[in-house]
């Protein structure tokens, strides 16, 4: 059985992100540190658990991004992934999710995958749709927001629980091949192991050029969100902040 996990590189924090000088996208500072999208760690962990509990399972990973995105493939190797594929894309440019999904599907179609796992959402673009679109491009059924997965190899199917609002769950059977988007909390993602990191040190990452997909949307502008409430910022040092909070809570009569 072959599993592909789509993993995205995202900033560790957005604290150093700003609106680009042209105003039509964001720009990340050169000091920005990057990591694997948190939801994709859960997706990769789930794939690795299937590999460990069944025989003959391969887990590949694929990412689309600038050159630095290869770092998440290195991390995936450290966690136990077998092969990594990198689709090269521009940095600090708005990527249309339809185009991303088209490119991911084009490369994924070159393998013969029984299962494709994605994260439920990317922490930076927050779209919750790239996986579902990739599945449709590949003609695969898709279940999003999976919080439990069990594989029935004989029946070539999966039993999946997906999560809805307020914690309601749907229990679904889906035939393989298929794509799932994995929700956080399904497992506890492992840390890369030193031995695997060392073994993967000179392992190849296959890079292909991400071109030829047609964008269906453009980013016109980036704005700072409007304040929805008073948003009074307490000025001064810690002592002043403590005093002000005390004063406000006192006034609201909620201190014991």
């Amino acid at each position: 059985m072959n599993i592909l996990v789509l993993i995205k590189q995202v900033p560790q924090t957005e604290a150093a992100t700003d609106i680009s000088p042209s105003g039509d996208f964001i720009e990340r500072s050169t000091v920005t540190l990057y990591k694997m999208n948190r939801f994709d760690e859960y997706a990769l962990e789930e794939a690795l658990r299937i590999k460990e509990s069944h025989s003959g399972v391969h887990v590949d990973v694929m990412t689309l991004g600038p050159d630095r995105a290869k770092e998440v493939i290195r991390r995936a190797y450290g966690m136990g992934a077998d092969n990594g594929f990198h689709i090269l894309a521009a940095d600090n440019e708005y990527l249309d999710p339809s185009a991303v999904a088209e490119l991911l599907a084009r490369e994924a179609a070159k393998g013969s995958y029984d299962l494709i796992f994605c994260g439920v959402m990317s922490e930076d673009m927050m779209q919750s749709q790239t996986g579902q679109m990739t599945a449709e491009n590949l003609g695969l059924p898709c279940v999003s927001s999976a919080v439990s997965v069990s594989v029935d190899e004989g029946a070539k199917s999966l039993r999946v629980k997906r999560e809805l609002e307020g914690g309601v769950r749907h229990d679904i059977t889906v035939s393989m091949p298929c794509l799932l988007t994995i929700q956080a909390g399904i497992n506890t993602p492992r840390y890369p192991s030193l031995s695997k990191v060392l073994r993967a040190a000179d392992k190849e990452v296959l890079t292909v050029d991400g071109q030829g997909a047609s964008p269906r949307q453009v980013c016109s502008a980036i704005r700072h969100p409007e304040k929805q409430r008073a948003g009074v910022v307490v000025e001064g040092g810690r002592t002043e902040k403590v005093r002000e909070l005390y004063r406000v809570l006192r006034q609201k009569n909620i201190l014991g």
């Binding site: 673009m125 898709c142 927001s145 307020g166 309601v168 506890t188 002592t239 809570l249």
Partner: protein, 325 residues
């Protein structure tokens, strides 16, 4: 019904309209400048007629009741939506950015060669009269204004983002149709209604909620001590704390947890992502303590304290202990 440029895909549960359907109507009216004529709502279900007439009378919008002859899963929903879109060739198709919507709408867009803009929380008209769709990115720090380059375009509306207005005028027309669904790839085995929830968060006057910014599980003790300073308080948390096993599910605030509305909500080290905000935005007064002055939570707060959460709590406790004030 062939002058319709905007198609709304209603969301049902057990053949009843879900509130998010009216959020879609509010967004659609924003797009048309208040006119209902060019809007069509599709109400798709195994027995959708009652919900369809309810929708028509509560909104004044013309409604198409689509009876589906199979048990409905997301792949059937996608087929049915593509069928309706094929009949009317709308410029925009509005779907909810709900668990159900995210399960079928992106695939629908691929099927129709359409752009798909998800989690839309605002509509802006640019100088050339184009509609731009605003969506939150980077944990809520920025809004991106996205312009679709296709017709149709699938627009997924963030629940709760648009102001729903009550409607008192005449009802819209209702037509009916049947959709013979092809075989689905998914089989529904059952629904687990709800997980263990708590009345604690419902009853609390004050909720002190912890997020990943508290750093480590041991720091929950300080959060609990902080909460204990307020009579009638309860401890809540953002989802990652529940995912990591630091807090039990019944403490989770947000779209997939509890929706709360205490008099005072104190967010400690919480970034303010839309999924968390959806669960606490009805609170009376919101205080946020976060070390990042640009954190999105400050846009949803009455009082903003930029500080390290643990250091701040310690100083606050000292202040109380020393009998100041």
């Amino acid at each position: 019904m062939n002058d319709k440029t905007l198609l709304i895909m209603a969301e049902l549960e057990d053949n009843n309209l879900k509130p998010v359907t009216f959020d879609l109507v509010a967004a659609a009216l924003k797009m048309t400048g208040g006119a209902t004529r060019s809007i069509l709502m599709a109400v798709t279900g195994t027995s959708p007629d009652a919900a369809a007439s309810e929708a028509a009378s509560r909104t004044g919008i013309d409604v198409l009741a689509v009876t589906v002859t199979a048990s409905i899963t997301s792949d059937i929903r996608k087929q049915a939506a593509a069928f309706v879109a094929g009949e009317f060739a709308p410029s925009y198709i509005l779907c909810p950015h709900s668990a159900e919507g995210t399960d079928y709408a992106p695939a629908l867009a691929v099927r129709l060669n359409a752009a798909c803009i998800s989690a839309v929380s605002g509509v802006v008209i640019d100088v050339d009269g184009n509609l731009l769709f605003s969506r939150s990115i980077c944990g809520g720090q920025f809004n991106a204004l996205i312009k679709p380059a296709t017709s149709p375009a699938v627009i997924m509306i963030q629940p709760g983002a648009f102001q729903v207005q009550a409607y008192e005028g005449t009802a819209g027309a209702v037509e009916t149709t049947t959709f013979e669904a092809g075989p689905g790839a998914l089989r529904m085995n059952g629904v687990e209604k709800s997980r263990e929830t708590s009345s604690e968060l419902d009853k609390a006057k004050v909720i002190v909620s912890a997020g990943r910014g508290i750093g480590e599980p041991g720091n929950l003790d300080a959060i609990r001590r902080f909460a204990a300073l307020f009579p009638g308080s309860a401890v809540g948390g953002s989802r990652p704390l529940i995912d990591m096993g630091w807090l039990e599910y019944r403490h989770q605030v947000g779209i997939t947890g509890a929706t709360v509305s205490p008099s005072v909500y104190i967010a400690c080290g919480i970034s303010g992502s839309t999924q968390h905000i959806a669960g606490m935005n009805g609170s009376g007064y919101v205080i946020a303590i976060n070390s990042d002055p640009n954190a999105a939570i400050f846009n949803y707060s009455d009082l903003c304290i930029v500080d390290d959460i643990m250091g701040f709590i310690e100083a606050f406790e000292d202040f109380i202990k020393n009998g100041e004030g």
